[in-house]
């Protein structure tokens, strides 16, 4: 099977102007609520990926995206941004929107600590909604909190019941500032490695030599 980045490279080809590159890539989001996994993708209609999963499109016939995702920031500086994602729950073949809404709202344990994973899918020509290229991992977030609202709206003379669920997420940098329960010394690090089943870990072998010295960062 073709690899995502190989296919992307093919589309990019020899073009060096970014405006000349045409590759259709969309995001797929997997909300791993306990008992109610929700798979949605940024598009129209049902998407079928090569891993056998079905993803529901969140963009309606009028081009409105019912899935609100924030801009994803770069976490390489160690910051842990707060992301809030909103989703209008809809009926799916397995479950009605109401039952998913009630279940997630009533039992917070279905939400807290669970993951939201974002994947990327690339669409080739004539592949329709069944791309051959497997989706690739993009980012993962942990759901920390959830908010719920249901409202009744009148649109064009018809009443519309709207179940909105939003979750607050943090990325992998969350909790890095907590105090590590360990000591940085070569002996302790070797012992931790042994417990993990790693033969040698030289990560702290210079720690002793570095103690009590002042370093000037150039």
């Amino acid at each position: 099977m073709p690899d995502f980045y190989d296919v992307l490279d093919e589309y990019i080809g020899g073009d060096d102007e970014f405006t000349d590159v045409r590759a259709i890539v969309r995001r797929c989001w997997f909300y791993d609520f306990v008992d109610h996994p929700i798979r949605v993708w940024q598009g129209k209609g049902k998407l079928f990926t090569s891993d056998g999963n079905e993803w529901l499109g969140t963009i309606d016939a009028n081009g409105l995206d019912h899935h609100k995702t924030p801009t994803i920031t770069d976490g390489r500086d160690g910051s842990s941004a707060r992301y809030e994602m909103g989703l209008n729950l809809i009926d799916t073949p397995g479950a009605a929107a109401t039952s998913v809404y009630q279940d997630i709202r009533n039992e917070q344990s279905r939400v807290f600590g669970r993951n939201v994973t974002c994947y990327l899918a690339i669409f080739g020509i004539n592949e329709g909604l069944r791309p051959q290229t497997p989706i690739v991992f993009f980012r993962e977030f942990t759901m920390m909190n959830s908010k719920f609202s249901e409202k009744l709206e009148f649109v064009n003379g018809a009443s519309v019941k709207n179940y909105q669920c939003s979750v607050v997420c943090k990325d992998g940098n969350f909790g890095r500032s907590e105090i590590p329960n360990g000591t940085y010394s070569n002996a302790v690090q070797q012992e931790r490695a042994r417990q993990l089943g790693v033969e040698t870990d030289l990560g702290c072998s210079f720690v002793a030599a570095l103690a009590n010295r002042t370093y000037q960062i150039p």
Binding site: T19, R22, A61
Partner: protein, 230 residues
């Protein structure tokens, strides 16, 4: 819990105009270095059926227009298309082995060319295709190479437009748009008079034209159906 959707049959109104199309959508992708505008097409897309009912003179007896105006809250309609040049035109001198739902005259005989009343021609599908893919192969041996790109046909409750077609002997390999909405097997058939599943997208526009002044004659505005995928 399984959800069963109620599907209403669209009433058999006289139709003034009808158009099936798959407009798709795109994201604006900026300009190329050469200056051409780039649009990044949305994968998949949805189909749309637009129709304008003709002037209805029997609203007193059958207030269909009144009923349609109340079915704008997501009610799903199954619409059988009428014959327009979008549909595949079969040569009239061929007797098709593949007909269904045909009815004989009351003397239990067909027309003298062997065809029945209210028949619905169909073509056999020769290979299976999965939901979401865009290829269908049909056998065209009984009627020849009459299917061209731009034609509209149906499989099950869904309508598709022929995006591209290639004949391999008598088998037509068709690229369809939108992508297939169901798994297609060789037990399925390609309908020449397709059905469309849709919800009314422009309720207020339709209601505006209900006019009681014309001694009960009513002509609804153009109805736009957005495709429903179940």
């Amino acid at each position: 819990m399984t959800i069963n959707h109620k599907i209403w049959n669209f009433p058999a109104l006289k139709i003034e105009s009808q158009l099936f199309h798959v407009p798709g959508s795109y994201f604006d992708g900026g300009l190329t270095s050469g200056g051409a505008r780039i649009m990044s097409p949305e994968p998949g897309g949805r189909s749309v059926l637009e129709m304008r009912p003709a002037y209805q003179v029997c609203e007193w007896e059958n207030p269909n227009s009144s009923w349609i105006m109340s079915k704008i809250n997501g009610a799903i309609f199954k619409v059988q298309m009428i014959r327009t040049p979008q549909l595949i035109k079969l040569p009239t001198d061929v007797i098709y082995p593949s007909v269904k739902d045909g009815v004989d005259w009351d003397n239990n005989s067909p027309w003298n060319n062997g065809q029945e009343w209210q028949k619905d021609n169909f073509a056999e599908i020769v290979t299976s295709s999965l939901e979401g893919s865009v290829f269908v192969s049909v056998e065209t041996e009984p009627f020849g190479e009459v299917i061209k790109h731009g034609h509209v046909f149906g499989i099950g409750n869904y309508a598709y437009i022929v995006d591209d077609i290639e004949y391999d002997g008598s088998v037509a390999n068709i690229t369809v748009s939108p992508p297939l909405r169901t798994n297609v097997t060789t037990d399925d058939t390609m309908l020449f008079v397709p059905y469309f599943l849709g919800v009314i997208a422009n309720g207020p526009e339709i209601r505006n034209s209900y006019d009681a002044g014309n001694i009960g004659g009513i002509q609804l505005n153009r109805i736009v159906f957005n495709e429903v995928v179940i």
